[in-house]
């Protein structure tokens, strides 16, 4: 082919920009900045916030305790959920608002299995792994139900998942004949508390494993590319041989797996369940984590690490507020203020304004290039 005029100068790489602008362009800028601010606030207000000590727990085992441990521990469910929520958001441009309710289903199924249908059980009646698998299966089905409505019936995700949101907790109660089963087997609580002889809360390990698993999945499969492609342009994706419907469905099923793991951790913490209160409003925090991570809620490109970070920021915030004795009834209001700030700061409009405040030197740099 002959070469028509080409101007090599138009192919230059992005010139060196001021650090500030480069930073604000980063997707992870907001969650990292928020985390830094929270850390800074706590450092100034009361450095003892970060103190970690070894205490004896009720069983006499030495365990780590402290605010940071509790942040990492308590964020576990949210982190796991936010990963699945990110994928669902990316592929379908909408969110699953039923994750709290389906967590209750998973918890209910797991408890019914380990209690063997009794109201209280002192030992597990079913091997734990089977019970968890049953929970995973149940929420995968819920995910498949949601995903089918979204992908094949083209119902808006929020409306489609509203069904499970409304019905999920009743289904959870129905699974156990409206009874509140309690398991007293210590082995069951390992996942939600501590493994014998290990001072770090188990949920932290589970979360790390889940993150690792998704890192591997995204590395060794094309899930990331396919999900983004489908979320950005389903038509093009189809003409490139993808099945957009199947991929959307798949992301909802994957979220189902995440939900089951989160539900398992939650019921293992206490060994019991409260159908109407368990993981209440966690769907909103999960969606918020996705948004805080710099992911567009309208779908398309995503960064799961942003969402994970977002989830930890939310938990960090909650723990900080508790530490300063904000009453739990007032907590949502405080949280809302911070959230508004974060969301406004991460809005593209504001980011552009921030960037253009330092525009003059940026232009000079371009002239030179």
């Amino acid at each position: 082919m002959s070469a028509p005029v080409k101007n090599p100068e138009t192919q230059v790489r992005r010139p060196d920009e001021p650090l500030f602008k480069r930073l604000t362009r980063q997707q992870l800028f907001i969650p990292v900045a928020a985390l830094a601010l929270l850390v800074l606030f706590n450092l100034i207000a009361d450095p003892s916030f970060f103190a970690v000590s070894i205490n004896q727990n009720s069983l006499g085992n030495p365990v780590l305790s402290g605010n940071m441990v509790s942040v990492l521990d308590n964020a576990s469910e949210l982190v796991i959920l936010s990963i699945g929520m990110t994928l669902v958001t990316a592929s379908s441009g909408g969110q699953d608002i039923s994750v709290g309710a389906t967590m209750a289903i998973a918890g209910s199924v797991i408890l019914r299995m380990v209690c063997g249908g009794q109201v209280t059980a002192d030992t597990m009646q079913t091997p734990l792994i089977l019970a968890v698998l049953a929970g995973v299966l149940a929420t995968m089905l819920c995910g498949a139900f949601n995903g089918t409505l979204v992908a094949y019936f083209k119902i808006q995700p929020m409306v489609a998942t509203l069904i499970m949101y409304t019905a999920g907790r009743s289904i959870a109660a129905w699974i156990n004949n409206n009874q509140l089963p309690i398991i007293n087997d210590l082995g069951f609580k390992y996942a939600g508390t501590f493994l014998p002889g290990v001072p770090v809360p188990t949920p932290i390990f589970i979360t790390v494993l889940v993150i690792l698993a998704f890192w591997l999945i995204l590395k060794f499969t094309t899930l990331g590319l396919y999900t983004q492609s489908v979320g950005i342009n389903a038509n093009s994706s189809r003409l490139n041989g993808l099945d957009p419907k199947l991929i959307k469905l798949l992301t909802y099923v994957i979220l189902g797996v995440c939900v089951a793991l989160a539900g398992f951790i939650r019921v293992s913490r206490s060994g019991s369940i409260n159908y109407s209160r368990m993981a209440e409003n966690i769907e909103m925090d999960a969606i918020l984590a996705v948004a805080l991570g710099g992911n567009a809620l309208s779908g398309g490109k995503f960064n799961i690490y942003g969402s994970i970070l977002g989830a930890y920021v939310i938990q960090f915030l909650t723990t900080t507020l508790y530490k300063y004795d904000v009453p739990s009834t007032a907590l949502p209001a405080y949280k809302a203020v911070v959230v508004i700030l974060l969301v406004v700061l991460s809005a593209p409009v504001v980011r552009e304004k921030l960037a253009s405040m330092k525009k003059a030197p940026a232009k000079a740099a371009k002239e030179v290039s």
């Binding site: 082919m1 005029v5 010139p15 060794f220 590319l225 950005i232 093009s236």
Partner: protein
């Protein structure tokens, strides 16, 4: 300001990260003239328009508008509108779910109360005076694209604009609609409106325009009165070199007509799809370039979509290399070695937010499979190879494809399919809305592929492009294949006659 000028832009500069999009560009528009803004993709036409209409802030220069003291401050499209500058974009920017009249008056009503009757009758009058076949109460989405475009113009006209910008208004219109649009433009010109006309169609420029301003690589090449600038000159100004590539291509065509024999690569019988085409037969040989021609909506695209499985196939048989195959979905076709560059680049082709690299490897990756991702390094290598081979202008392979110009996006899609090493490539309007330099490159590429033994189906609205590249044409009319032309029958008149139907005299 100059005598008679309604708009003057002086020394306009605009930078994007890594790219100087406009540098010291001057532009003058006089009262009652149609002024063509020409240039290759990426020359800066759209950027200039967007600076003028306040979509982008400018980084330097001044804009003067008649009736505005001193330099005009245009910070938003609203400012531009208030200053008397109206724009009709290539893609319709109206609301399809509102009525025609609502679309014409949206954003312009004062106060909270709308007098629907007056609005509708007002809209009706304008539509009538401009000869636009639409009813004010009709939903805009139910009109054809051409009529929607005209409604957009009617809206602009009604706002008493001094400057009307038409950004590629004709790329989705058929010939008669273009004639109508030109009539409209001449009427407006007679009323003293200055019109900036951005287009890729040279014929159209010479049909309606008075002056031409040429941009290249973000810089002003010059402003010319149309009589002083013959076509060849214009093309060479746009490309920045003396050009006899057009002649070259014709020379090469002679070498392509070779493969009239040999077994067909693909054979289709009685193929039809859910898009409503009549069953048609089709075959293509190794190294052959053929095409579908016909008016817009005649079923050209639907035919190739049926071959690729893009629409639901409802009947017929397909053979690849003599073997019966079932193509139910695009992936089936891809596995048979078929590639398809769709007509609607934005809607069906690019995946906008993904990078150039990801867009290029997409089809290849899908064929490779879910559990076998292309490594980052490999993807980089592929992308760089094709960026170089097809001379794709992009800051890097990491740039989102949506920020590239149309022609470069199209090259990425071509790269995507070339990477899958197809035996049969379908190109549906690969040259629409892109500059003449790239058009020629693509046509040459098609011929090169054919000479390497690949088969290509090439569809274009421009018959002379088809004549230059195809050795056989299937003519479509009313969703039906009505004829096949080859050899000596491949002439403009013969094709026209077949498209039109009836007597072929």
């Amino acid at each position: 300001m100059q005598e008679g000028a309604v708009l003057e832009m002086r020394g306009i500069c605009k930078y994007f990260p890594g790219v100087r999009a406009l540098q010291d560009v001057d532009f003058t528009l006089r009262e009652g003239e149609i002024h063509a803004l020409m240039g290759e993709n990426g020359a800066g036409k759209s950027t200039l328009i967007k600076v003028l209409t306040g979509v982008y802030p400018k980084d330097g220069g001044e804009v003067h508008i008649r009736g505005v003291e001193g330099a005009a401050v245009i910070r938003s499209p609203q400012d531009a509108q208030n200053a008397g500058i109206s724009t009709v974009y290539q893609e319709i920017t109206l609301c399809p779910n509102l009525t025609v009249a609502e679309n014409m008056y949206i954003g312009r009503t004062k106060g909270a109360v709308t007098n629907w009757r007056r609005m509708n009758s007002g809209a009706g009058k304008i539509l009538e005076s401009l000869g636009i076949p639409a009813s004010p109460r009709q939903q805009l989405g139910s009109c054809s694209i051409a009529v929607q475009q005209m409604v957009a113009i009617a809206r602009a006209v009604d706002m008493e604009c001094k400057v009307l910008i038409l950004d590629e208004p004709t790329s989705s219109l058929d010939e008669q609609e273009v004639v109508k649009l030109f009539g409209l433009m001449r009427d407006l010109k007679a009323k003293g409106v200055g019109i900036i006309f951005v287009t890729h169609f040279l014929e159209q420029v010479y049909e309606v325009c008075d002056r031409i301003t040429v941009l290249r690589d973000g810089q002003l090449v010059g402003e010319y009165v149309i009589e002083d600038l013959p076509r060849v000159q214009l093309v060479s100004k746009m490309l920045g070199k003396e050009l006899d590539d057009m002649a070259d291509i014709k020379g090469e065509t002679g070498g392509v007509a070779i493969s009239q024999e040999g077994a067909p690569v693909l054979e289709a019988q009685d193929l039809c799809s859910s898009a409503g085409i009549k069953p048609f037969d089709f075959s293509i040989r190794r190294g052959e370039v053929n095409g579908f021609t016909g008016l817009l909506g005649s079923g050209r695209s639907e035919c190739v979509r049926a071959i690729f499985g893009a629409d639901r196939v409802t009947g017929g048989h397909v053979k690849m290399d003599g073997q019966n195959v079932k193509i139910k979905k695009p992936l089936d076709a891809m596995k048979q070695g078929i590639g398809y560059l769709p007509e609607d680049r934005k809607g069906d082709g690019i995946v906008g937010d993904l990078s150039v690299r990801e867009n290029i490897i997409l089809a290849y990756q899908v064929m490779k499979g879910f559990f076998r991702p292309v490594s980052r390094a490999q993807a980089e290598a592929f992308a760089d190879e094709y960026i170089k081979l097809l001379e794709i202008k992009t800051a890097s392979s990491d740039t989102p494809i949506k920020s590239l110009s149309g022609g470069n996006q199209q090259k990425c899609i071509l790269a995507r399919w070339l990477l899958t090493d197809p035996t049969y490539l379908i190109l549906d309007e690969p040259t629409r809305g892109i500059d003449i330099g790239t058009k020629i490159e693509i046509q040459k590429l098609v011929l090169k592929l054919a000479s390497e033994g690949k088969s290509v189906t090439f569809i274009s609205s421009e018959i002379d492009e088809m004549l230059r590249t195809c050795s056989r044409l299937i003519v479509m009319r009313d969703r039906k294949a009505v004829g096949e032309l080859k050899g000596d029958d491949l002439t403009q008149t013969k094709i026209m006659a077949t498209i039109a139907g009836g007597d072929e005299k």
